[in-house]
Amino acid sequence: MTVTTRTVSANRDAVRARASALHPGAWWVWALALGVAASRTRNPLLLALLIGVSAYVVMACRTDAPWARSYGAFVKLGLLVLGIRLVFSLVFGTAIPGTHLLFRLPEVPLPDWARGIRLGGPVYLEEVLFSLHDGLRLATLLVCMGAANALADPSRLLKALPAALYEVGVAVVVATTFAPHLIADVLRLRAARRLRGRPDRGVRGLLQVGLPVLEGALERSVALAAAMDARGYGRTAAVPPAVRRTTAALTLGGLLGIAAGSYGLLSAVGGVYGLPLLLAGTAAALAGMWLGGRRTPRTRYRPERWGPRAWLVAGSGVAVAVLTVVAAAYDPSALDPPVTPPAAPVLPLWPAAAVLLGLLPAFLAPHVPAPTGKDRRP
């Protein structure tokens, strides 16, 4: 405090970082839209382009926060999925007719009742190609999810929930931090095993620390619950009984309406009353939720605003999705190239240009400076 000037100047970056942070919803819309685009194509070049776009934006915009490291984990998960998809198609075969025999796996004869299932046997180039393309599509979807996770703090997204759902949101956030804590505990206790002169590797080492880890996790949860209670979690404001009853009636009635309406829509009999009932039910439930929010006196600290940048980021993603969907309808063979006969994939020009629109956030979104690491005690 004595060296105010330095504190303030060092501080300005951090203040700006938070003030200009993009609404997490924008990132999720962008990433989900890229995912939609990925789900519409099996063209490996387009898919690779999508992955490249998401990776570039993540590298350009992510912060130093722990959740920002999740992108790498999702990429690995995507590779795993791709591998599993490939192995399955090799072992079980696919419905793709093939002519280019690659090699022949030993076939396991199956009894009559399992007809239609094949184990091993000939492997054709076409089915390998098909499963590669299909696996890549799944992997791309996962990578897009990873991008959303890396760019937007999931707990900030939950902050945007309506007040009535806030407490559920906190419970979810606390639950999501449970796993990282658990992993940290396992690592610490395995290190401690070494101090006892036991090997710190291997499955046995993992099993023996299981109980202490769970005990520790339970204790921490209880301590956290106590701390949250003491800090006012779950405080309720006094609301008149009439409002309370109205809330209950609206919510309950709304849910019943939604249930009956959806039944009506899906079944053949209630085609007439289905839709209106569903709409009325939704409206009642929303009103109930809004009223229920009055029971929680909570306020929000510096909620992210949905500004023009958020519109542009979300919009760029949506544009990619829409253009890809249109392209898929217009020229299906370019986006889903046939594998029979096998041919090198061709990059369709216009859909590729559309995918490149997804790069926009890398230039639009504010560059977030890394949080200053030094603790400069004044």
Binding site: L195, L211, D229, A230, R231, G232, R235, R298, Y301
Partner: protein, 594 residues
């Protein structure tokens, strides 16, 4: 402000009440200190103030507790959240959100304060606690002292009228502790906040207190009064009070300043005595320790390349034995150079060690040699690299460059089974070392792990910790007992090098005295002891040598007296009172007077 009327608390399944006969009032704007040995129910009293006892913990509370006129029987903790702010012993367990700034705002959000008020108070609190540079940091990445400050800040923002703190400074280095305490004092003075805190390290806090509540023993009635009065008869007291009692000063001084003003006569009496503190360790009985076979390299998985032999190259071993002083000879202080000539390899040689944690260099070119029988205290700020150095010696982290030799073996490449006979580490949380569900099972496992005679560990436990039943669950032991059990487990393998990380956290003075006794005896038997600690009084009692770390570098290394005299923040109270004479502990003064 806080009023206890004939309060007693009984937990389920226990014979007697945990606390009884609590009848006192703490007026607004006072700083009250709750003291007493471990296990007398201090945490229960603190919990009763914010209503967690009995609403959250269960049990029966008789009598009445009122805070700011609200009865805790009819008000649940969340309904007291706007008047009472509580920080528990472990600040990490207190955090709900992920970043510092959100954490500071959380309490206010729950209370429904207006956004502009919240914004103002967050900025104010960031400045008050010096947290402004950390505002965007995830709480998981903070150091111990930073966490403590964030936890205090997070309960300050709703402007509670009462603050309840359980051991707010025990995890902090002296400077950070001073900072937290001065913030508390500012709150008491400027805002009229009422503070009730429990703390074992009385030397840090007792002079800030307006009133002391002493719980002398489990289930005994509390003593409430002015600090000096209560300290006169208290079973727990800081060194300055002990010195005052020894010198017969009345009223008892609570601060170094008061004591210094009365210390003239004492200084004169001590004038002729030999004030050379921290005698060099006696020639160690190295023979008492087993001769170690050469370690086998750790078995690696076939896909991992072997990183080299576990046994250091012969030249290195010689360097470790014969020229042990040579590595850090200049800093060795000459105190032990003669003692090292024995044939056994030196317990610990660290040579230009660099350890990286991520992109950060946790240790930079640290060199250190610990001969047998010497006790070294590692001191320095939170996050200075003390624990990392201990981890490197115990083989838990791999050096980026430089060398570590523990009794001639490279710790991170030695098989754990061989390593335990060379080095033992009692971690910051001794519970991490204990897996079994009874003391007896723990001891049996320790014998097996160490390859010792069955019954070795149990004999150690009986010696260090008399009166512990075989069937006790380690979780039910007190903090000090658990530490001693972990110490016994580690000592079962009789490692020549013993490492302790922050051993006095949560220990009362009696437990600390016992620990000092054990460690001194071990050093006498030839064990080299390295302890990382913030507790300057412990270092003064125990250490022959103090190594000061800052930002991963050694900034001071020398005999305890020289180092602590040069650094006022790290000087023990007795030294400050009797300067320029060079006394470190009350024990030395008592022996000199006798």
């Amino acid at each position: 402000m806080i009023r206890f009327e004939e309060v007693s608390v009984t937990y389920e399944g226990t014979a007697g009440p945990a606390v009884r006969g609590l009848d006192f009032e703490i007026p607004e704007g006072e700083l009250a200190l709750l003291v007493g040995p471990s296990g007398v129910g201090k945490s229960t009293v603190l919990g009763a103030v914010n209503g967690l006892v009995p609403h959250f913990t269960g049990g029966t509370l008789r009598g009445r507790v009122t805070v700011a006129g609200r009865d805790t029987r009819t008000h649940r903790p969340r309904e007291l959240a706007d008047v009472v702010g509580t920080v528990g012993q472990d600040p990490a367990a207190h955090f709900v959100t992920e970043t510092v700034e959100d954490e500071l705002a959380y309490g206010m959000e729950s209370l429904g304060l207006a956004p502009d008020v919240m914004r103002r108070r967050v900025e104010e609190t960031l400045d008050l606690l010096g947290l402004a540079d950390l505002r965007e940091r995830p709480v998981a990445t903070l150091s111990g002292g930073q966490r403590q400050r964030v936890a205090i800040g997070s309960v300050l923002t709703p402007h509670p009228r009462v603050l309840v703190l359980d051991e707010p400074t025990s995890a902090l280095d002296p400077a950070a502790a001073e900072e937290v305490l001065s913030v508390l004092q500012r709150l008491v003075h400027d805002l009229g906040t009422t503070v009730l805190m429990a703390e074992h390290r009385l030397e840090r806090v007792v002079h800030y207190a307006d009133r002391v509540l002493l719980l002398p023993g489990p289930g005994e009635a509390p003593v409430v009064g002015a600090p000096a009065e209560v300290m006169a008869a208290s079973p727990v007291f800081p060194p300055v009070v002990e010195l005052g009692r020894l010198a017969g000063w009345s009223p008892l001084p609570l601060t170094v300043r008061d004591a210094r003003r009365r210390a003239d006569a004492l200084r004169e009496r001590l004038f002729d005595a030999d004030d050379t503190p921290a005698p060099a360790p006696a020639a160690p009985a190295v023979t008492a320790l087993p001769v170690l076979p050469a370690p086998e390299p750790e078995r690696r998985r076939w896909w991992r390349p072997r990183r080299g032999p576990a046994e250091a190259p012969a030249a290195d071993v010689t360097a470790g034995t014969v020229t042990a002083g040579g590595v850090t000879g200049a800093r060795d202080g000459g105190s032990t150079a003669g003692a090292v000539a024995a044939a056994a390899p030196v317990p610990a040689v660290v040579d230009r060690l660099v350890v990286r944690r991520g992109a950060v260099e946790a240790l930079r070119a640290v060199s250190l040699t610990v001969p047998p029988g010497e006790t070294v205290a590692l001191m320095g700020r939170n996050g200075a690299g003390k624990s990392t150095l201990l981890s490197a010696l115990a083989g838990l982290v791999e050096p980026a460059s430089g060398a570590v030799l523990v009794c001639g073996a490279v710790p991170h490449r030695t098989r754990p089974r061989d390593l335990v006979r060379r080095v033992g580490l009692v971690p910051q949380e001794p519970r991490d070392l204990l897996y079994a569900d009874t003391v007896a099972a723990e001891c049996a496992a320790a014998d097996r792990d160490a390859g010792a005679e069955p019954g070795t560990c149990r004999a150690l436990v009986t010696e260090l910790l008399p009166g512990i039943a075989d069937s006790t669950h380690p979780r039910d032991l007190s903090e000090g007992q658990r530490l001693t059990l972990a110490l016994a487990v580690v000592l079962t393998a009789r490692p020549p090098l013993l490492l302790l990380d922050e051993p006095t956290r949560g220990l009362d003075y009696a437990a600390k005295t016992r620990l000092v006794g054990h460690l001194r005896r071990l050093a006498g038997q030839g064990h080299a002891v390295v302890l990382a600690t913030h507790d300057v009084e412990l270092a003064a009692e125990l250490a022959h040598r103090v190594v000061m770390l800052a930002d991963g570098e050694v900034v001071a290394d020398g005999p305890t007296a020289e180092v602590v005299l040069a650094l006022p923040a790290y000087a023990p109270q007795v030294t400050k009172v009797l300067a320029p004479q060079r006394w470190l502990t009350v024990r030395q003064v008592r022996e000199a007077l006798a």
